[in-house]
C-alpha cells in the first residue's frame, strides 16, 4: 500500500506510462513517490504482442521515438554508435530513419531497468479515480497528481466480420487473405500475406492516405499546436477526425511489392470479402472515452466537458475541472488527443508527461 510520501500515480502500465515514469524520474521524483498501477509489469508487453502479430519490423516513428526522458541520444545515434556507421545519422537528418522494432524494445527495456519501475509498479486494475480534498483517491490511497494512461480501449471489429481474426492478434495466413482496413496495420498485413505466398484482397471503403507520420509534423510542436489549441471546439474535432483517417507512409518499400503482386494477379481491391478468404481485420481500435470504463466513470461522475468522443483537455493534457494548484489529473495516450493530436504516439506520451511533470515539480 502506498505510503503518505507517495505523491504521483500513473494509472496504466504501457509505453505511455513508462515514458511518463522516466520523465518523472528525470525530473527528480523518487520511485517511492510514484505508484504505477497496471495489469502488465512489462510496459512493452501489450505493444510488443501487437507489433509481433502484424510482423512489424520497423517503427513508423523516427530517431526520437523512444521512451527515455531526454530525446538525445536518440535511436539513430545509438545505432550509429553500436554499428560504427554514420548511415543512421544521415538517414535521420533526411527524415528517413525508422528504428527497428527490436532496437526500440531493447531500449525501452533498458529504460525500464534503469528507472526503478519495479519499485513503483503495483499489479492492480484501477476502476475508479475519485477526486478528494487536495488530490485523488486511487486504490485506497490519496495522490496529489494522477496521470491516466490506459491506452486504447480495445480492438475495433466491424460487425459484418465479427469472429474474424484481428491484425493485432496472433495469426497465420491462408492461401487467400482479405485484409479489412486501409491504415498502417493493413498495409503491413498486405505485405506480410504477399510474402507468405497468399493472394491478397484489400477490403476498404476509401483509398488509403499516404503520410510519413500519423500526423503532420507541425502538430508535434508549439508552432502548430498553438493554432490547434486556439481553434473552436468544432474545428478542433473536425481536425482530429480528419487526422484519424487511416494512412501509411509513402515509399517504394510499400509500393513495389504491391505493384508486383498486382501484375501477378495476387493483389486486388474489393468492397466485401469473399467466402473463401481468410478475413483479417486491420481496423485499429475502438475510439472514444465511452469505450474505456475508467474514463467513462470519470466523465460521468464528475460531469467533465466532452466533445463527441473526446474529453476536453487543457493544452498541457490536464483535465481542467480536476486540476488546480494543489492537484493534477492528466490524460496520456489516445485519450489526450484534444490537447495533442498525435497523442497515441511516443511523442504524444512524452508531451503529456512533460505537462504532468510541470505540475508535479512546478519550480522546474
Amino acid at each position: 500500500m502506498p505510503s503518505e510520501t507517495v505523491r504521483c500515480a500513473i494509472v496504466g502500465s504501457g509505453l505511455a506510462a513508462l515514458a511518463t515514469y522516466a520523465t518523472l524520474r528525470r525530473g527528480g521524483v523518487r520511485p517511492e513517490e510514484i505508484a504505477v498501477y497496471g495489469t502488465h509489469e512489462d510496459p512493452t508487453e501489450v505493444w510488443r504482442t501487437r507489433a509481433a502479430a502484424i510482423r512489424q519490423q520497423r517503427m513508423r516513428s523516427e530517431s526520437d521515438g523512444h521512451v527515455a526522458a531526454a530525446a538525445f541520444p536518440g535511436l539513430a545515434v545509438r545505432e550509429a554508435a553500436r554499428a560504427l556507421t554514420l548511415a543512421p545519422l544521415v538517414a535521420s537528418v533526411a527524415n528517413r530513419y525508422h528504428p527497428r522494432v527490436e532496437d526500440f524494445l531493447q531500449h525501452a527495456e533498458s529504460v525500464r531497468a534503469e528507472s526503478g519501475w519495479e519499485q513503483s509498479f503495483r499489479r492492480e486494475r484501477i476502476e475508479r479515480i475519485t477526486p478528494v480534498d487536495d488530490g485523488f483517491a486511487v486504490d485506497g490511497a490519496t495522490f496529489r497528481h494522477v496521470l491516466v494512461a490506459t491506452g486504447h480501449p480495445g480492438l475495433a471489429q466491424p460487425p459484418e466480420y465479427n469472429g474474424a481474426v484481428h491484425a493485432y492478434e496472433p495469426h497465420d495466413y491462408a492461401s487467400k487473405v482479405a485484409v479489412v482496413g486501409a491504415g498502417m496495420a493493413a498495409a503491413t498485413e498486405w505485405l506480410n500475406a504477399l510474402a507468405a505466398g497468399s493472394e491478397v484482397v484489400s477490403i476498404r471503403r476509401r483509398e488509403p492516405l499516404r503520410r510519413a507520420l500519423n500526423v503532420p509534423r507541425e502538430f508535434f510542436s508549439k508552432r502548430g499546436l498553438a493554432t490547434f489549441h486556439a481553434t473552436s471546439d468544432e474545428r478542433r474535432a473536425a481536425t482530429l477526425r480528419e487526422l484519424s483517417t487511416p494512412s501509411y507512409p509513402p515509399g517504394a518499400a510499400w509500393d513495389e511489392p504491391i505493384a508486383a503482386a498486382v501484375a501477378d494477379g495476387r493483389f486486388s481491391v474489393a468492397e466485401r470479402a469473399s467466402a473463401d478468404a481468410q478475413v483479417i481485420c486491420a481496423t485499429g481500435f475502438r475510439k472514444g472515452w465511452r469505450e474505456d470504463p475508467l474514463l467513462r466513470d470519470l466523465v460521468e461522475t464528475n460531469d467533465l466537458a466532452t466533445h463527441g468522443r473526446w474529453i476536453e483537455l487543457a493544452p498541457d493534457s490536464t483535465v481542467p475541472a480536476l486540476t488546480d494548484t494543489m492537484r493534477t489529473l492528466s490524460l496520456a495516450g489516445v485519450a489526450a488527443q484534444w490537447s495533442f493530436p498525435a497523442a497515441d504516439t511516443i511523442a504524444g506520451a512524452k508531451y503529456a508527461a512533460h505537462g504532468f511533470l510541470r505540475h508535479v515539480c512546478p519550480t522546474r
Binding site: 520523465t23 528525470r26 525530473g27 526520437d64 526522458a69 531526454a70 530525446a71 538525445f72 541520444p73 535521420s92 537528418v93 533526411a94 527524415n95 509534423r217 507541425e218 508535434f220 510542436s221 508549439k222 508552432r223 502548430g224 499546436l225 511523442a347 512524452k350 508531451y351 512533460h354 511533470l357
Partner: protein, 382 residues
C-alpha cells in the same frame, strides 16, 4: 523541427556561447566583432526563416549554413572587418558546429520539451540568450572604445616618421620614409618619398599596408624583418639606385604568415624577395627587374600565384635555397638573357639549390631559358 520565432532566436543565441568564449580567448577585437556580425545576420535571417520554414528538416542546416557563411563573408568585406580569413572560417565553423550540437544534443537534454516547445529554452535559456547578446555588445563596445586611433595626414610631412603605438595612418605624403615598431599598425593611402627604406617594419605583428606608394627609396621599398605584414595594393617605383629591392620580407619564419597582393613594382633589382619567411605572393605585377622578378629564398615557404612578371633581367621567378614554393597560374613574359651568367639565360621559373617547387598552370612567353631546376633542386608539375 518546427521552430517558433522565439525558439529560433533563443537557440541561436544560447548556442553562440562557445564561439563567443573562443572570441574572447583569442583576445582580438576582430574576433568579437565577427561573432557579433554573425549573430546580427543570423537573427535577421531568423525573421525570414520563421516565415518561410514551418518545418525545418535536419539536412537543411548545411545549405542554410553555407548561405549564411556567404552573407557573413560579404558583410565582413563590406564593413572592412580585418579578420584573417582562416580564423574567420574557424570561428564560423565553430559557431555552426556548436549550433548543431546544441540543437540536436545539449538543448534536448537540458530541456526535455525542447522540440515540442519549438526550440524555446524556458527561463534559463532566455537568460543565457540575453547574456550572449550582452557579452557580444559589450565586446563590440569595448573594441570600439579602445580601437587604435586613426591619424589623417594632410599634405606633405617631413620624415622619417617613427610609429611606436598601434594606430591607423591615412593619406598624405611622407618624405624620408616611415619606420614601424609597433603591432596593429595600418597605413592606408599613404605615399612615401625617399628614405633609406621606404617603409621599414621590424618586430611587429599584424601590420597592414593598404594602397601605399613608395617612390625613390635608397635600399628597399618595403623592408620587413621579424614581422608579419599584409600588403594589399601597393606600388614601388623610381628607385634611388641600382641596388634597391621592391619588397623584402625576411627572418619572419616564427611570425604569422605574411601576404603581398595586388602590388605593382617596377625597375628595381628584385621585385619581391623573401628569406626565411612564410609568405603568399598573389596578383602582383612585377616589371623590368635587374636581378629577379620574384624570389622565395633561404628556407622560405609559400605560394606565388597569379602574378605577372614582365621583362625581368635573367630570371623571372626563383625558388631558392631549401625553400618550398607553390608556383601557380603566373604569367612570365619577356625574360631577358643575362649574358654574364649562364644560369640567368632568360629563365622564366627556376628552382635552385635544394629548393622544391610545385608548378601548375603557369604561362611562359618569350623567355628563352624556360623552366629549370639546378643544384639538387626539384620541380614537380601538378
Amino acid at each position: 523541427m518546427s521552430y517558433t520565432l522565439k525558439g529560433r532566436v533563443e537557440s541561436r543565441l544560447a548556442a553562440a556561447l562557445p564561439v563567443l568564449v573562443l572570441a574572447f580567448v583569442l583576445h582580438r577585437w576582430w574576433a568579437i566583432e565577427l561573432v557579433a556580425l554573425m549573430l546580427a545576420i543570423g537573427l535577421a535571417l531568423d525573421l525570414v526563416y520563421d516565415r518561410l520554414l514551418a518545418y525545418q528538416p535536419g539536412w537543411l542546416a548545411l545549405p542554410l549554413g553555407l548561405f549564411e557563411l556567404g552573407l557573413v563573408y560579404t558583410a565582413m568585406r563590406a564593413l572592412d572587418l580585418m579578420a584573417p580569413l582562416r580564423w574567420a572560417l574557424v570561428l564560423y565553423g565553430v559557431a555552426w558546429l556548436s549550433g548543431q550540437v546544441f540543437a540536436h544534443a545539449l538543448f534536448p537534454r537540458f530541456r526535455l520539451e525542447y522540440a515540442e516547445a519549438g526550440g524555446e529554452l524556458g527561463r534559463a535559456g532566455g537568460v543565457a540568450a540575453v547574456a550572449v547578446v550582452a557579452a557580444a555588445l559589450a565586446g563590440v563596445g569595448a573594441a570600439y572604445s579602445v580601437r587604435p586611433p586613426t591619424v589623417h595626414l594632410h599634405g606633405t610631412v617631413q620624415g622619417p616618421l617613427v610609429i611606436r603605438h598601434a594606430q591607423t595612418l591615412v593619406g598624405g605624403i611622407v618624405n624620408g620614409g616611415i619606420v614601424i615598431r609597433a603591432d596593429h599598425v595600418t597605413l592606408r593611402d599613404v605615399t612615401v618619398h625617399g628614405g633609406e627604406n621606404g617603409i621599414d617594419i621590424e618586430d611587429s605583428h599584424h601590420v597592414m599596408l593598404e594602397n601605399v606608394h613608395v617612390v625613390g627609396s635608397e635600399l628597399d621599398g618595403i623592408h620587413v624583418r621579424r614581422a608579419s605584414v599584409m600588403i594589399d595594393g601597393c606600388t614601388v617605383s623610381s628607385p634611388a639606385g641600382p641596388w634597391v629591392q621592391g619588397i623584402d620580407i625576411s627572418f619572419s619564419m616564427d611570425k604569422e604568415m605574411s601576404m603581398v597582393e595586388r602590388c605593382t613594382i617596377v625597375g628595381v633589382r628584385e621585385g619581391i624577395v623573401t628569406h626565411m619567411s612564410m609568405v603568399d605572393v598573389e596578383h602582383n605585377r612585377v616589371g623590368e627587374t635587374s636581378l629577379r622578378g620574384i624570389t622565395m629564398g633561404e628556407m622560405s615557404m609559400g605560394s606565388i600565384r597569379d602574378n605577372d612578371v614582365l621583362g625581368a633581367h635573367g630570371v623571372g621567378i626563383i625558388c631558392l635555397d631549401h625553400s618550398e614554393c607553390s608556383i601557380e597560374d603566373n604569367t612570365i613574359a619577356g625574360t631577358k638573357v643575362d649574358k654574364t651568367d649562364p644560369q640567368r639565360s632568360g629563365v622564366a621559373i627556376q628552382a635552385h639549390f635544394f629548393a622544391k617547387a610545385q608548378l601548375e598552370g603557369n604561362t611562359v612567353v618569350a623567355s628563352p631559358g624556360g623552366i629549370e631546376a639546378l643544384d639538387n633542386s626539384t620541380i614537380t608539375h601538378r
